[in-house]
Point group: C2
Chain length 196, copies 2
C-alpha cells in the first residue's frame, strides 16, 4: 500500500530531471527529514505487521538512514552492505555484484558472514527501486547466508522500470510506499500508480 | 563527558587490530545496534543542551546512522556530505578535501549549497575521530556556507592521535563519548581517558 504523506512530499519537493531522474535530495538522500523517515518507518512496520524480522538489511549510503530509523519500530539491528571495488577474501564475506542505474557503475557489495546467519529472518529496506539490481544483490546475500528473506520495503519505486515487476515475479514480498508510474521533466508532473 | 554504556560496549565487542585499528563493526558501522544509537543520541543531546542547532552535518557512510538517530532528539534535519572523486561544478556545492586514515585515500567531500545556509547553526556528528581530517573538512563546508559551527559530537575518539587536540585548539566545542587513550592488540586491553 502506498503512503499519501510521502506522495505529497514527492510532488512538493521532488525534482524531475531528464533521463528519468527523480531528485529527492532535499528530504531523502542528501538532506534528510528525520520526521518523515519516522512516518516511513512506522508505515513499513504496519505493512509487515505480524512478520518476525530479526535483521534489517540495506546498502550504503542512502539506505542507511531509512533502515536505521525504521529499525526502531521493528526492534532489530541493521546491517548495511558495503560497496567495494576491491576483491575480498573469500570465506569472510557474502558478496554479490550490483549495477547502479544512477552512477552507471558496477560494485561488489559485501556483508560480513559474522552478521548474517541461517536463522535470520531478513527485511531488505532501500530508498529507490528502479531496475531492481540493488535489492536483487541484497537478496543474493540473504540466500548465501541461508537466511529467510521476509520481504523488501522500498520508499520510492520507479514503476515504469522493470525492477518491481521482476522482484514480485521472483516471489519477493515487495512493499513500495510510492510507485511512480510516469513523470514529465517538461511540466514537472508526476503520476503515481493507482491501487486496486 | 564520556559515556559508560558505550565504553562497556567497546570493551565487550570492540576488536583491536594491529595498526591502531579498533573494529566496532558488530554494533556501530556495519551491523548497527539501533538501541545503542538511541542512547548515544540522547547523550549528545544532553551534552549540547541549551544550544540552538538547526542542522546536523555528517559524512557518508557510517556517520549517517548516528546522525539520523541523534537528529530525532535535536528535532532538526541531517545533511550528509558525499564523498566523490569527480570534479564538481563550481558554484553548486561546497567542497573540501579529506584524507581517510582507514582507507589511505583522499576524497573530495561535497554538500549542495541548497541545504547549508548562513543562518544555520550546525552540529557535526561522526562515528570516529582519529587524525581529525573528516571533521576538519566538514567544518570547512560550514565555514564556506557562512554558517555557525556550534560544535562536534563524536562517538569514539582515538585520543592517542592528534585530531582531537587539534580540533580543540581550533576552538571547536568537541564532545567525544569515548576517548581511547591506548589499546593493545596483543592482550585486547583498552584504556579510556580519565576525566577531571
Amino acid at each position: 500500500m502506498q503512503m499519501q504523506l510521502l506522495q505529497d512530499r514527492i510532488r512538493k519537493d521532488g525534482q524531475i530531471k531528464e533521463g528519468n531522474i527523480l531528485k529527492v535530495d532535499s528530504f531523502l538522500n542528501h538532506q534528510i527529514d528525520v520526521s518523515l523517515l519516522q512516518e516511513i518507518g512506522k508505515e513499513l512496520k504496519r505493512q509487515f505487521e505480524g512478520k518476525e524480522i530479526t535483521k534489517i538489511l540495506t546498502i550504503e549510503a542512502s539506505g542507511i538512514a531509512i533502515a536505521c530509523i525504521a529499525a526502531q519500530y521493528f526492534g532489530c539491528p541493521v546491517i548495511f552492505a558495503k560497496k567495494t571495488k576491491t576483491l575480498n577474501i573469500a570465506g569472510e564475506v557474502y558478496t554479490a555484484k550490483v549495477e547502479s542505474f544512477t552512477h552507471q557503475t558496477t560494485n561488489d557489495i559485501i556483508v560480513s558472514k559474522s552478521f548474517l546467519h541461517a536463522e535470520d529472518k531478513v527485511l531488505i529496506i532501500d530508498d529507490f527501486l528502479a531496475n531492481g539490481k540493488a535489492i536483487f544483490g541484497l537478496s543474493e546475500l540473504v540466500r548465501q547466508a541461508g537466511a529467510e528473506l521476509v520481504g523488501a520495503g522500498v520508499v520510492i519505486e520507479k514503476g515504469f522500470q522493470e525492477g518491481g515487476k521482476r522482484l514480485r515475479e521472483m516471489g519477493i514480498d515487495l512493499h513500495s510506499l510510492a510507485i511512480v508510474e510516469s513523470m514529465d521533466p517538461a511540466t514537472g508532473s508526476i503520476t503515481f500508480r493507482k491501487e486496486d
